[in-house]
């Protein structure tokens, strides 16, 4: 009863946010928070659930942004169609790189993802078709929802970002409780175990990567339509990927609300410190970031969600003897 009321209040607050804090900066922070939360959900599906820790999310974010933007500027394709196209291109690319990598685990996979993302960035940086290092600019177009652009205020972007996040969360929720979700978690635990349960880890890992890539690409399109200018430095760089990982890890990887919690904490922190201190280009916000990542890894690797879950799970009647007999697995 209380929980339902709290949830309703939260939803109302989120929906009313632009009306309450309508000035540009808070809205901007909110939009970036939503975007990173969505990216975090994408990462969570393949990393938190399926155990593939990627540091190359930016590659798909960028592919999404570039696909829709190029289709728009070179061929006049509606950004909404572009969003779909970007997602598909990203998913196919993910399949192409994911298949040979389907044996890789842990550190090996992480480095492969970095290597892949760097290749993508280098390529876009030199590809004349998409503007190489100069990037692409989206012309200002009035029309609001129809053209996926709002020029007078940011509210439209806020709501689109919110819907995108909601859809991503819905997908994650559906996956987590379905066969796919169980299979992801089995794969994360052990490839051999998964195989003995009849799970083709290649096929399901591909599924995870493709879904994650699609969602990340959709966020990329949203971002492009929001800032109206993209270049490799703004959408394809490693710091973006690292931030996505950190956001999810802070909130709790492998949990549904994790990325949202993490984004809600980190993105405002980053945007505000950058606004206050970062103007001098001294990267103090990044220093805090680095320290934070290190501390979380050492002290609270399961993130906020893990911390809360552990708290709630303290049931005094639970027999501890059985656990004491047990060697660490």
């Amino acid at each position: 009863m209380v929980r339902a009321a709290a949830a309703a209040a939260a939803v109302a607050a989120v929906l009313a946010f632009p009306a309450l804090f309508g000035s540009p900066f808070p809205l901007h922070v909110a939009i970036m928070t939503l975007i990173y939360a969505t990216l975090g959900v994408a990462w969570n599906i393949m990393g938190g659930y399926a155990g593939m820790f990627s540091f190359g999310t930016a590659a798909f974010f960028g592919i999404g942004a570039y696909t829709s933007t190029w289709l728009l500027t070179a061929h006049g394709v509606s950004p909404w169609l572009g969003l779909l196209a970007g997602g598909i291109v990203a998913a196919l690319t993910a399949a192409a790189i994911g298949w040979p990598c389907s044996n890789l685990r842990g550190h090996y996979f992480a480095i492969a993802s970095i290597a892949f993302a760097e290749i993508v960035r280098t390529h876009f940086n030199n590809w004349k078709l998409v503007g190489a290092a100069e990037g692409l600019m989206i012309p200002i177009t009035p029309g609001g929802l129809r053209v996926f652009q709002w020029n007078q205020s940011k509210e439209g972007y806020y709501y689109v970002a919110l819907v995108l996040l909601a859809l991503a969360l819905l997908a994650c929720w559906a996956i987590a409780r379905s066969r796919m979700g169980f299979y992801f978690r089995a794969i994360k635990e052990s490839h051999e175990l998964a195989m003995t349960l009849g799970i083709s880890f290649v096929r399901w890992r591909l599924a995870a990567i493709m879904i994650a890539a699609f969602i990340a690409a959709a966020s990329g399109t949203l971002y492009a339509q929001y800032v109206l200018y993209i270049d490799p430095e703004s959408v394809l760089v490693l710091p973006i990927s690292v931030q996505v990982v950190l956001v999810t890890m802070l909130g709790g990887a492998g949990s549904l609300p994790g990325p949202v919690i993490g984004a809600a904490v980190l993105v405002p922190l980053s945007e505000i410190t950058r606004a206050q201190l970062g103007a001098r280009g001294t990267g103090v916000d990044m220093i805090l970031y680095g320290a934070l990542i290190t501390l979380i890894s050492v002290y609270q690797p399961k993130g906020v969600h893990g911390f809360l879950a552990a708290r709630l799970a303290r049931r005094p009647a639970e027999p501890r003897a059985a656990a004491a007999l047990e060697k660490p697995a």
Partner: protein
């Protein structure tokens, strides 16, 4: 063409040294030190400041920088890395990432993002060896890297401590059984790994630009080199370093300079797909 090859080898020697430090850490404790590039950067800055403030030439400051980085490695291991060894994989991956971001940006804060150069090192210019133009500082750096690598191998194979490290790298449980303090070995390996890359930084500072973000590229390259050489294999890392130096230089010369690193990353992907153990056992 021969000139390009020579250049590649010269670059490769320093790469080798960087990679050896990384592979040692990886082999002993199964952790990728994502902050490896930043250790290099700190080594380079150490060299730079010793030169700028006290006029010590990079060649002579190397011992100082080495010791400083060894200590730094020990400290970082004890404070952060050792505590995630038993934790989830994600934590192990991310902790050194955090340290790398922290170090790189502290450097930006302290020293600005500007590019620095040691303008009048003791060693400069080029030698003409059999028609090939070889840069003197690069030559010395390469020779130095080779010497250090050889020294490391000697240390690992001949000394008691070294053998303990090798034993732990080969089989952690057996090492524990024979009474080796694997925690100490871990810390040592991390410290030595940092020290090695500090030496490389000292060498690099003789002829390369010094700036806070320099660690990023070299770090990523070193992961690829270590993978190529076979994780944990020191000999493999050495050869792979040379290989990558050559590949990079040739790719830049014959194909497109902008893609020279991308080619290396592609090489990593190909190796990891088709021969996960790298050059090991070849």
């Amino acid at each position: 063409m021969l000139q390009q090859l020579a250049n590649g080898v010269l670059i490769g020697c320093v790469y080798s040294l960087i990679a050896i430090g990384l592979t040692l850490i990886w082999g002993v404790m199964n952790i990728v030190n994502f902050a490896h590039g930043e250790f290099l950067m700190l080594g380079m800055f150490g060299s730079f400041w010793l030169y700028t403030l006290w006029g010590i030439d990079p060649l002579w400051s190397i011992p100082l920088v080495t010791v400083a980085l060894f200590v730094l490695g020990l400290v970082i291991y004890r404070l952060a890395v050792s505590r995630v060894m038993k934790g989830p994989m994600l934590a192990q991956l991310v902790v050194t990432f955090g340290i790398s971001i922290f170090l790189a940006n502290v450097a930006v804060l302290l020293w600005t993002p500007d590019f620095r150069l040691i303008d009048k090192p003791l060693l400069n210019g080029t030698w003409n060896v059999g028609g090939l133009q070889l840069s003197v500082p690069k030559l010395v750096a390469s020779a130095g890297s080779g010497l250090v690598s050889a020294g490391l191998l000697l240390f690992l194979r001949r000394t008691r401590t070294g053998k303990a490290i090798l034993a732990t790298e080969m089989n952690r449980e057996s090492a524990l059984l024979v009474g080796i303090d694997t925690e100490k070995v871990n810390a040592l390996a991390f410290g030595i790994g940092a020290a090695l890359v500090g030496i490389a930084g000292g060498f690099l500072a003789m002829y390369y630009y010094v700036y806070p973000q320099v660690g990023g590229l070299f770090g990523t390259l070193s992961f690829c080199i270590v993978a190529l050489g076979g994780f944990g294999s020191i000999g493999g890392a050495f050869i792979a370093g040379l290989l990558v130096g050559v590949v990079q230089t040739l790719a830049g010369y014959f194909f497109d300079p902008a893609y020279k690193y991308a080619v290396v990353f592609l090489l990593y992907l190909l190796v990891v797909w088709f021969r996960p153990q790298g050059l090991r056992g070849w």
